[in-house]
């Protein structure tokens, strides 16, 4: 399957920035991330700390690999599987009925409980990552193509941030109107 390079590079940039920002949040507050990971109750206690160290490194590595054309294909596939893994972790805890733990999805100031809509969010991200793994059609990229690529990635990220903010606000709104 082939697709225009604009779609592929734009989604690769968007996913890379996303993973890099997620990784910086985790690196800045390792204790908090370890606590969130432990709250998910998917790993034995002895593994929580090493995994909490490893995950941000993995995210950073994938983010960098996404930006290099040679490694983009497999990096996009690993990003997709990582995001799918997160979705699975959320799904398992939703199924267990442990919805009140902090999702740990979007940085320190946006604590939010687990909800099914987060699965939808992650599946959109998985689709975006899979799009980045498609082989590009060979064609010359002009300056204008480059501009469109960067602009599209920026818009995708901003809209993602806005949607994420709305998701984090919605439990507060429900509390406010008394449900």
């Amino acid at each position: 399957m082939h697709s225009d390079p604009i779609f592929i590079i734009a989604s690769a940039i968007a996913i890379a920035v996303l993973l890099a920002s997620a990784a910086t949040h985790k690196v800045r507050a390792p204790a908090r991330f370890a606590r969130q990971l432990a709250d998910y109750q998917l790993l034995p206690d002895s593994l929580v700390r090493p995994v909490a160290r490893l995950v941000p490194l993995l995210e950073l590595a994938i983010a960098f690999a996404l930006l290099v054309p040679v490694s983009r294909g497999w990096a996009a596939l690993s990003a997709a599987s990582l995001l799918a893994l997160y979705a699975a972790a959320i799904g398992i805890n939703l199924w267990r009925g442990r919805a009140d733990i902090d999702c740990g999805c979007a940085g320190p100031d946006q604590a939010q409980p687990l909800r099914p809509v987060l699965l939808l969010r992650n599946s959109v991200l998985v689709v975006l990552a899979l799009l980045a793994s498609v082989a590009p059609i060979a064609r010359d990229m002009t300056v204008f193509d480059g501009f469109v690529t960067v602009a599209a990635a920026a818009v995708a990220l901003l809209i993602y941030a806005a949607a994420d903010g709305l998701l984090a606000n919605s439990p507060l709104l429900l509390k406010l109107i008394g449900r």
């Binding site: 946006q110 204008f144 501009f147 469109v148 602009a151 599209a152 920026a154 818009v155 901003l158 809209i159 941030a161 806005a162 903010g165 709305l166 984090a168 606000n169 507060l172 709104l173 406010l176």
Partner: protein
């Protein structure tokens, strides 16, 4: 072709701008959610009744100057009861200071605390209250029967207690002034009075 490219670039730039605006709006909504604490200062029903003469008491501030409470004077008085050990009190200090600045010509703000002097000094240094009237001692709190902190009381020029309540946010503080304006003891009372105000001939509203 040239025109199409220009229009396309323009559209992308505008789209990025719109996405920024949307994200900013979402952020602001988030901040508003954070600020929307349960509205209205909670009145703890004991002590001095609102709209009656405030009990008169004199205390010395931490510099040894006497401070009169409840006497008729040139300015209204806002009494803010706090403690160095109460985090919400500290979070309200910026709001109190800005109220003191805004209404300096008609309002004296008095900080009233009790307890360990070293902790008071640290609080005063941290929040730059060196020039404020700061009373340390139990007399005023006992007279006004303050049980919970942070508590604020508003006494008008004539020495009448106009409003009082437990304050947990800037909105609660502002509600005290709103209450003074409406001549009701608490916002709750004002709201309860609203549906009856037509047939009760505004028994305690609209006197200005």
């Amino acid at each position: 072709m040239e025109g199409l490219i220009v229009s396309n670039v323009l559209l992308w730039v505008l789209l990025v701008a719109v996405a920024f605006v949307v994200m900013g709006l979402v952020r602001q909504i988030g901040v508003l959610h954070g600020r929307l604490a349960p509205a209205g200062a909670l009145m703890v029903d004991k002590g001095v009744a609102v709209n009656e003469a405030a009990p008169q008491v004199t205390a010395t501030d931490r510099k040894g100057r006497p401070v009169n409470f409840g006497y008729a004077g040139e300015k209204s008085q806002l009494l803010f009861f706090l403690s160095p050990t109460c985090p919400i009190c500290k979070s309200l200090l910026p709001a109190i200071k800005s109220i003191a600045r805004e209404q300096a010509d008609r309002l004296d703000v008095v900080f009233i605390s009790d307890g360990d002097m070293d902790a008071q000094q640290a609080l005063i240094r941290e929040h730059k209250l060196e020039d404020a009237t700061y009373v340390v001692g139990p007399e005023v709190g006992m007279t006004y029967q303050i049980g919970k902190l942070p508590y604020a009381a508003l006494i008008d020029k004539a020495g009448t207690l106009r409003a009082k309540g437990l304050v947990n946010s800037r909105e609660h503080l502002d509600s005290l002034f709103e209450v003074e304006h409406l001549k009701h003891a608490t916002l709750q009372q004002y709201l309860n009075a609203q549906p009856h105000s037509h047939d009760h001939d505004h028994s305690h509203g609209h006197s200005h």
